[in-house]
Symmetry: C2
Subunit: 135 residues, 2 copies
């Protein structure tokens, strides 16, 4: 379900204050992978890697599913990522529009859409829980 939907809400926290943003993501080798432009979300996750991702699929009030992931932020730097990983992350993320990132620059070059100063990151999954009704 996570892989199919690829869109959810990510929460991070600083000094006990949580913060939520909508996010596009993909799944790669059991991690959640995404990118963002620099900003509050990235600053906070650098300071405290504990995050929560919530994904839901609501067809009707009687028929819905939700998944809640608790995990940890890991920044993927150019230096740390091997070439194969970078290519895979890039290809995976190209499948998702990132229309939604504040400060996102739609630079279309040879069919590619790139964010402005992207920060790539993975979220390793510590726990995953699901709720559903109507199946």
């Amino acid at each position: 379900m996570l892989s199919r939907i690829g869109f959810g809400r990510l929460a991070c926290a600083k000094d006990s204050q949580p913060y939520i943003v909508p996010i596009n993501f993909s799944i790669l080798a059991n991690d959640i992978v995404a990118f963002s432009t620099e900003g509050r979300k990235i600053d906070w996750m650098r300071g405290n890697p504990l995050v929560c991702l919530e994904v839901d699929e609501i067809e009707t009030p009687q028929r819905w599913k939700s998944v809640i992931v608790l995990g940890r932020y890991h920044e993927v730097t150019e230096a740390a990522a091997d070439e194969a990983e970078k290519v895979l992350i890039h290809e995976t993320l190209q499948k998702r529009a990132v229309w939604w990132e504040p400060g996102y620059a739609k630079t279309v070059l040879q069919g590619e859409v790139r964010p402005l100063n992207p920060v790539y990151f993975r979220i390793s999954i510590d726990t995953i829980t699901g709720h559903s009704a109507g199946d």
Copy 2:
């Protein structure tokens, strides 16, 4: 927009670990009001009142709005709430189905739907920020 949509994602945090749940809510005198059954969310907000509510409205990738509220949890106890407040909260919340609460019991009595052991709460708004595209 908050009042019209009445549905979003609420994040709370414990020991730097954020947690997100979907939530139905209403607006009452500039506070967000909602109820829930007992559980992790209520436990965590009792321990740390700082919360974040995110509400969005996505028509297309080019046309969307989101609102992010940072606020504080206040439990509304029978003792603390005056009668007018209780009536107003109750009426306000009756307008929203709470199909979504885990452990929710659909007890329909004279046209009313009541949660099982409800915990009523308000969220006072500290800051509110919005993003949009396509308007």
